[in-house]
Point group: C2
Amino acid sequence: MLINGQPGDSIDASDRGLAYGDGLYRTLEAHYGQPLLWRWQWQRLAADCASLHLPCPDEALLLAEIAQVAGTLPRAVVKIVLTRGSGQRGYAMPATCTATRIVSATAWGGYPAERAEHGVAVRWCDTRLAIQPLLAGIKHLNRLENVFARSEWHDPAIAEGLMLDMDGTVVEGTMSNLFIVRGGELFTPLLDRCGVSGAMRACVLQLAANLGIPVREVRLQPEDVLAADEAFVCNSLAGIWPLRQLDGRQWLAWPLTRRLQQALLTICCASAIRR
Amino acid sequence: MLINGQPGDSIDASDRGLAYGDGLYRTLEAHYGQPLLWRWQWQRLAADCASLHLPCPDEALLLAEIAQVAGTLPRAVVKIVLTRGSGQRGYAMPATCTATRIVSATAWGGYPAERAEHGVAVRWCDTRLAIQPLLAGIKHLNRLENVFARSEWHDPAIAEGLMLDMDGTVVEGTMSNLFIVRGGELFTPLLDRCGVSGAMRACVLQLAANLGIPVREVRLQPEDVLAADEAFVCNSLAGIWPLRQLDGRQWLAWPLTRRLQQALLTICCASAIRR
């Protein structure tokens, strides 16, 4: 783990990341220190820095730090955390901010392959996402809703929980974004009121465009998901997991999802080779 | 500063308090290590622990730690932070949780006395509070809304900003609770959908009861505040600040607020002497 570029494992207890969740993070996969799908990770990181008025670190510096912490690991989870650093007491953003940058890596064997192959069982969460356009899409450090949602079940057969917002609209999974397929088109929830706009979501949107698959960002109702021809959740560590089971509904084939999985595999390999 | 009872100034960078804002805090005033209005602080702390499913620390232990960090300071701000500690990756609350407990003190001269004497100018914030009943009232570590709201103005003549929720209902100040007076009665926003239920708010409710002043928790509209006979904001460090100016409205006398300030002074003195 590197804290502002120095080896370490602790941060100042007065850091605003702890005090207020005043910061953001990203989680990604790296092979021997090479981050997968970096282009989308970086785009989302930079966008979130802008939204939070946080200084964005230099891209080359981040890549060097990822290489440093994960370089010896064949497969690692890398986590980047950026906070507004330590400041005077009080909520106001300091006029000058010395951000805290944490880059860490953990060896990781990946999720069980059958999730991507045979699909996953998911559930509806009772925990609702509050509607807050100001913070919508940002992968910020205010994640208590996700903590409560993910704590609703302990059954390891359930891979993910889907969350609705306060209006009952479907938004995302607790740690993933959601897509559905209907009539050969892709639909994914608009994230203008809440939810996290994940790097893998951005990548899937690009893959769909490359494949000529129409995609629309819309407000989805739970019945839209249940009526879908196919559905999947995705994130940077999981890749794409087809939905096999939800609330009595079963899906057994995912032809369009398979095309996206294949395209993702291709782009990941290209990304790994190119770097 | 004490971290889990040991002198220190840093925490594990993998703490869930940093990762997810998974914890809570309290800020209070102490004189030579004796916390003011501890009864209300403790009640709120214990309630928030229960709401977040966090183990509540022993009261005597906390008091001893406050005495240890602030014992030599005539007047101090004490901050208590409790988090769900470090755990395995992922949002789910760990089955067994070793909480992180941070108790720190800073010498502090108090706010300028004229704020309580002559009242304060406040403003409306544009930043709205999201409606999230699950977290309403809790002084948790997910405070980005407060950070954005408090960053809206830099004019030191404005002491506080008042926040509305997504429905336009008045909830609180960025760092305080709000009360208004109308026809000899006190009204304060219901905090069942968002907002922080402060220790000073609880204390004021008790003081009003002691004085035989009727109080109601209601949904207040901005026009209710502007039409009020008196209004004040309060928190554990500020005490009670009468509103002098808001959005063109001026208040010049605060007879009922003065009675509450007097009662607060009495109870603080009694509390300081008794301990």
